[in-house]
Each structure stands twice: as C-alpha cells, then as structure tokens.
Symmetry: C2
Subunit: 300 residues, 2 copies
Amino acid sequence: MSLVIVGSVAFDTIETPLARRERIIGGSCTYSALAASFFTRPKIVAVVGEDFPRETADFLKKRRIDLKGLTVVPGGKTFFWEGRYGDDPNQRETLKLDLNVFNDFRPILPPSYRAPDILFLANIGPDLQEHILAQVKRPRIVAMDTIRHYIVTQPDAIDRVLRKVDIYFANDEEARLLTREQNLVRAGRSLLDRGPRLVVVKKGEHGALVFGPDFVFGIMARPCEGVVDPTGAGDSFAGGFLGYLDKTPGRTPKDIRRAAVYGSVMASFVIEDFGIGRFLTLDRGQVEGRLRQFRKLSTF
Amino acid sequence: MSLVIVGSVAFDTIETPLARRERIIGGSCTYSALAASFFTRPKIVAVVGEDFPRETADFLKKRRIDLKGLTVVPGGKTFFWEGRYGDDPNQRETLKLDLNVFNDFRPILPPSYRAPDILFLANIGPDLQEHILAQVKRPRIVAMDTIRHYIVTQPDAIDRVLRKVDIYFANDEEARLLTREQNLVRAGRSLLDRGPRLVVVKKGEHGALVFGPDFVFGIMARPCEGVVDPTGAGDSFAGGFLGYLDKTPGRTPKDIRRAAVYGSVMASFVIEDFGIGRFLTLDRGQVEGRLRQFRKLSTF
C-alpha cells in the first residue's frame, strides 16, 4: 500500500474575522499529507523555495511523510497565498496568489514513487497533475481536487484530468460551476458522467455528499462553534479519506462511508487552529475518539 | 399518549422555478398533523372558512386525525399564503399573507384536548400559542415553531413562549435572527439558554442540528435531486419527530435521534410533490423503508 500526493506546499497569510496570521505553513499537499499520515505513510511531490523552514520539513518527516519528492529550488521562493474569510467560514476571498517556484515545476518522480496504490492529484494546475499521472504505473485509485481558478481558466485540461481519475473531490461551489447545476445531487451525478467512479462534494459546515455508481450518501461535519481557520479543511478531508483507503483492503460502500467519516474527522481537527497547528499535537487516539463519537451520534 | 397540534390550515399559492399551483391545501398544522399521523393520532386546533373543501377534511379524518378542534367559521375565508421559491429551495419569498379567519381565532379547547401528552404550538401567532398553552394541563412535552414574521414583529411574545416550551423547532435563518449568531452551533446553544430543553435547527437540504443539554448532533436530509415543492418540509419534520415521540416511552438521546430521523424521512417525502400531494398515497411501509435506507447509509 502506498499513497503519493502531489499538490502545493505553501506559505499562507490568513485573515479571519477574529485574527490574522502571516506566512504560516499551508498548501493542499501539506494538509492532505498530514491528515493521511495518521493512517499511512504518504509520499509527497511538491516544490518549495530556500525560504521553506527546516523545522517544518522535520515535522513532516516526524509524521513519517516521505519527502524524496519534495524539491527545494535554490534561491527560489515558496508558493504564497493570501486569503480572507468573512463571518461565513464557507466563503473566502483570495487576495494574493504567487505560484513562485511552482511556475516551472516539472518534476521527475523518484523511482520509489512510480507504482503507488493511490495517487492523489491535490489542488495544483491540471498540467502538472497530468505530468505526474503520465509517470506512474496505473494506480488502483487516482483521486483529484482542483479549485475555481483552474475550472475557469483551464476547463478543457480539467475535463481531461477528470476522465482519468477514479475519485473527484469538489466543493459545492466548484461542483456547481463545473456542471451549471444548482442542485448538488444533480451536480454530483452529472460529475460522475465526466469520468470519476466516485464524486465527493464537500459542503464545509454541512458535511459532504458522496456519489457512487449506485448510491449517494451524506456525511455530517462535526458541529463546531468556533472555527478558528477553515483553510485546509477540504484537503484534510481528502487526506483522511485516502489515507484510510490506502490501509483498507475493502472497497464496499461501507468502507467508503468509513473513509468519508475519517475525512470529516480530520477536517474537524484542522479547523480548530490556524494552519497545520492542530496537527502538531494530534495523535491517533484522538482521531479514533472522534470516530467513536461520530458513530455514537449516528446510531438511532 | 396524545398529541395536540395548533397551527395554520391554509390555502397556498406556490410558485417554483418549474411550476405554479393556485390555492392548494397547506398550513403548518396540516403538514405536521399529516406527518404525525403515520405514528399516532393527532388532534388539531385550527380554523378554516366555509371555502375549505369537504374532501380535505375527509382525507384528514381518513388519516385518523381528530378534527374536533377544527373550527369552521360560517361565511369566513381560510388563511391564505402565496410564496415563491427561486433556484435555491432553501430561500423563499412571501408574496401575500391573509390571516382571514385566523385574525380573531380564540378557540376554547374541547375537553378531550386538555391533557395532551405532547402539545405542538406550530407556526401561528405567539398570542394564539399562549392562549392554547393556558388551557392545557402541563403536558409532558410542549414544542413550538414560529416564523420570521413573528420574531420581527413580536419578539417579546416569542421570548415568553420560548420560556414555556421544551422543544423549539427553528430554521437556520430564524435561529440566526433570534440570537444574532452567525454560527449555527453557537445559535443553537444560545437558544437553549432561552428556555427549551431541546432545540432543533432545520437546515433544509443540509438536514438539521439537534441541541440538548449535553449533546449536539446532526441529521442528514435525504439527498434529493428534484425538490418539487419545499413548502411544509419543516412542519413535516416536526410532525414526524413529535408523532414518533408520542408513541415512544423512551427519552434517551438515541430516541431523540430516531425521532429526528423520522422527521427527516417525513420531510423527504413531502417535498416530492406539491402541497400535501405526497401524503395522499404514502403508507407506513414506505416510511419504514426510508428509515431503513437512512440506517444503512449511516453505518460505517
């Protein structure tokens, strides 16, 4: 079993109604790999500049994340994102986006990365997603995420990647944008027709809908009265989901549901602190505790 | 066990993006009593005019709803509501509201109504809700619902009723309006401080959150790709919830959760047709079938 994740490793400047943090560690690859690391040992593919902190790399290694695919560009600057959340944590505004070292990133995968069981093409440009996909022996599961920016600017490339993946993680806005369907059940089903065998529509505080060939089910988000920072919730959902699947032989709808609950559990942790703060002290026992809580609160 | 429901029985004119229906049967009492009738024999308190159709009264009787508390005002006109839904079925606009016979309705309860096990003060003015409450021997459970109109125009009366009830059913907009909290978990907890022991915040397609003294849990809405008419979904939720509780001796959190799932099941049916159309042919077997579906899709 092995999980390869390609995505962004970034500095984020984040403003919420209550606080602001400058240049903290973020990025879709960082969040999803950390969430997955509670279940398996993810290998990451990403690029950073020389400004990337040693202690963060050390923390990722401590979480047994394989950094062989992490390129450090001498003299380069790490991807930077600045965003602001309003009172509704489901809504955010991008204030600044500097791809920096990601601009020309065309990595050659290390040999140990080329036959993954699961490949997660996390949120980064579709061209880079295809470049990675072309280098691996067909994995058991290919999953992808993307954002509004690429859906709007590179719709054809997104469509191409969609046809090659098994699982697509979208949020509600992205699902509506891609399908032009307001109703999320119709949007999810319509996305199934674009290629993936499984579509996960993430709805922030309202949980997620999971669409398969002959089922659709919902997963609650854990009720939270103080979202500190919603950044990375969707990536952590995907990381927990895929990390659990990487360690599970089964593929029944029940296995998929448990994967989705683990995704929701990982998202429920990450929003409790800024950036990856909550993952610094989290342990597997706490993860299992929250899974048991989900189970208890869903029996009737 | 007995359940008394006071609320509106109405004619509704409803416009959705796909169709329009003129003067069909609606009203909070109608929807909640019909939903409850799949579990218990509700007694209703309401008023209609002479224009109210005989066949509707016959149908309510066929569903074993006790109409002794239904007043028919000679020469009077039945409550009328006209509303429009946009593409988002969670949003609606009231175009017209004529209280008509409800204007001066101050009923004296039939003796057989005065010691209910559960009293549901469904959506109608808070003065009428208090008038009814004053006539009953303290029920095991008093529940209430209301709407934006009364929260805005009679906030003090709403506060008085809230202090006297055990369960408050609000939708997300009403919960936020009453508490001035954007976060629904904080809003729900804050509503618990206003009197009720249990607060249900209904979120339309996103399900509901249920708040108790030492728990909060979420209930999914059944994913639906074609909402025909969302009218009455909240009332049907409350009717299913309270109808089930009326037939259940237990009051454990698990009982409350099952009541909430039955609420969600009844709401999932009513939105499949205009007005009370879906209830005309529904049977208990279909209700149980959908409960089993909920259970299957929530195990992991």
